[in-house]
Symmetry: C2
Subunit: 332 residues, 2 copies
DNA sequence: ATGAAAGCGCTAACAA
DNA sequence: TTGTTAGCGCTTTCAT
């Protein structure tokens, strides 16, 4: 059992050719005479040679690795993004270097800067404000962002949150709801456009939603926020949550507080995470195409890597997914 | 805006010292005279120099990257593993190279072999049979596996599935259940020990479970399997599922078929994925400590990398989590 | 405490 | 078609 793997030089020696020939052979960048090809093949076979990608990268300057920085792999929304990005990466012979920043702003920048050195390009999901994205441009690596930067022309993808919120609210209105609460998550870059969508739709009917805030985009935060909303003086008959996770937590706690679902209150979220379908009542939501977002981001990055940096911001279309948590309600 | 980043040579020139000095400085491997240190510091600062990890790796032979190969990032069990592994990796200044093999056997080997070349070590979750793990040893990189190999002495971690199943069954027995079904997932390496745990416990009471198989470890597979079990001639009053995902799907379909939950049938799973808690009825399960598994695997790998290859197989303790889906049942 | 020089394993001109 | 050569950016003896 040899300690160190065979190098290109070992192969060259074994096959009686030069290292350049071996290099060209393994990269398939040229044709060879039959005898040489045969020798090469057998030498590589018997030695069990595998070209060292590191050494290759040093010269070519490309690692065929894409950095993917996300806020929390446990959130199914991000999990779906990873899945989508991974699929496209694999198809294009790229590998994913994953960074889970754990929703922490400080780590984020350090981690991403370190990441930048090891990859050809990056896909970043961040909660950093638009104007502090400058340094990312200075990393000299192509970057694709989730959510448009209003300041810098960085390629990015997202789903139309205004429309998504508008559609969902429209649906709730149609179902006869009148007293709205929006349980948001301020730190997210998507939060404000969702609020706008909700309020714009309600205003047309002379209504408006009371806005609350969850401390995190998680079920636990949804649970915590529930009592203040449901037992306060202003009990809503429809609660729109920032995402499905918050909605799921909210539903659990509402039930624990003695409310009957979906009779007493309608609840809806965003993202269309898989588990909303298996909750009871099944959760009405807006599909934001998380997985497609991941695919698209990777596609854009690969394009950028290939020099064709065409489109800037790609907007995906949301789709309303009506399930049991938002039934028809009679006017009160 | 410069095209190419500054190299160690640029810094050396700017600071008026040798490259060796710069190298030692950036690696903190030596002390320096005050004037030199000052020049170095400012040169690095103004040039915005960052050492190229690739070049470094070429020499040191370590990439400070760990490969993590899992079957499906969308399964919360694996997501938790990634989370745990990531946390430990970060603490030790390692980065994760993620490979999602998408439950595909063919890709698996190719992907893992490619992965092996780019990392210092790997953590692998696989469905490959024990005896076809040989080639992994020949990659000449430390590997930690999930689930013990009965043939090769590879470091590995897992949770005691026999005990987990036994405990869960005992609980169901205590609750008064008598007609058991086990809805498994044959392709998993954990499946058979869970069956054994269930049957062993039941045998003590002169009972036995009817064994069914789901085609995948997913909610969809659980849904598909439901009718054959619940509408067949042998209707159970307790269904133990291979994992929570299958259980969640099963519950949804059971309700769709007109059964009342949890009155008509008790359902339980394994893994304690977060969403079981937010289902209704909340799902009884066995916590297999997925996240801890990820942490432990990473810890073991880092140990192996440091040369201390002590323990072989680490077994975590399962913990029963009783919720609403398995209520007390009167003897029929 | 600092520097000169020899590579790590590979690719990319350029020759032959 | 094949070989020679000069590095990629860095670390690491070994001198000084």
């Amino acid at each position: 059992m040899k300690k160190t793997s065979p190098t290109i030089r070992d192969v060259a020696a074994a096959a009686g050719v030069s290292v350049a020939t071996v290099s060209k052979y393994t990269n398939g960048s040229q044709r060879f005479s039959a005898p040489v090809e045969a020798k090469l093949k057998s030498a590589i076979e018997t030695l069990g040679y595998r070209s060292n990608p590191l050494a290759r990268s040093m010269i070519t300057g490309e690692t065929r690795t894409i950095g993917l920085a996300i806020l929390d792999i446990r959130n199914p929304h991000f999990t779906n993004i990873v899945k989508g990005a991974n699929r496209i990466a694999l198809q294009n012979d790229y590998t994913l270097l994953l960074v889970d920043t754990e929703e922490s702003q400080e780590r984020e920048r350090t981690l991403i800067e370190a990441l930048a050195q090891r990859v050809d390009g990056m896909i970043v999901s961040s909660r950093m404000p638009d104007d502090s994205v400058q340094w990312m441009l200075e990393l000299h690596k192509p970057v694709v962002l989730f959510g448009r930067s209003s300041i810098f022309p960085i390629p990015s993808v997202g789903t139309d949150g205004y429309l998504a919120a508008y559609m969902l609210t429209r649906h709730l209105l149609n179902q006869g709801h009148r007293r709205f609460a929006y349980l948001g998550f301020e730190q997210s870059r998507w939060n404000s456009e969702r609020i706008r969508g909700v309020q714009a739709c309600l205003e047309e009917q002379g209504l408006s939603a009371t806005v609350y805030d969850a401390a995190a985009p998680s079920p636990q935060a949804g649970e915590r926020a529930c009592s203040a909303i449901m037992l306060g003086p202003n009990r809503p008959d429809a609660v729109v949550c920032y995402n499905d996770l918050i909605a799921l937590g909210f539903m659990k706690e509402a039930r624990a507080l003695g409310f009957a679902l979906p009779q007493d209150v309608s609840i809806a979220g965003f993202d269309n995470v898989s588990y909303g379908e298996y909750a009871s009542p099944a959760l009405t939501t807006v599909d934001l195409q998380s997985e497609r977002m991941g695919e698209l981001a990777m596609l854009k990055l690969i394009d950028a890597l290939a020099g064709k940096s065409d489109s800037e911001y790609s907007l995906l279309e949301p789709r309303l997914v009506v399930r049991e948590s938002t039934p028809r309600r009679e006017a009160s």
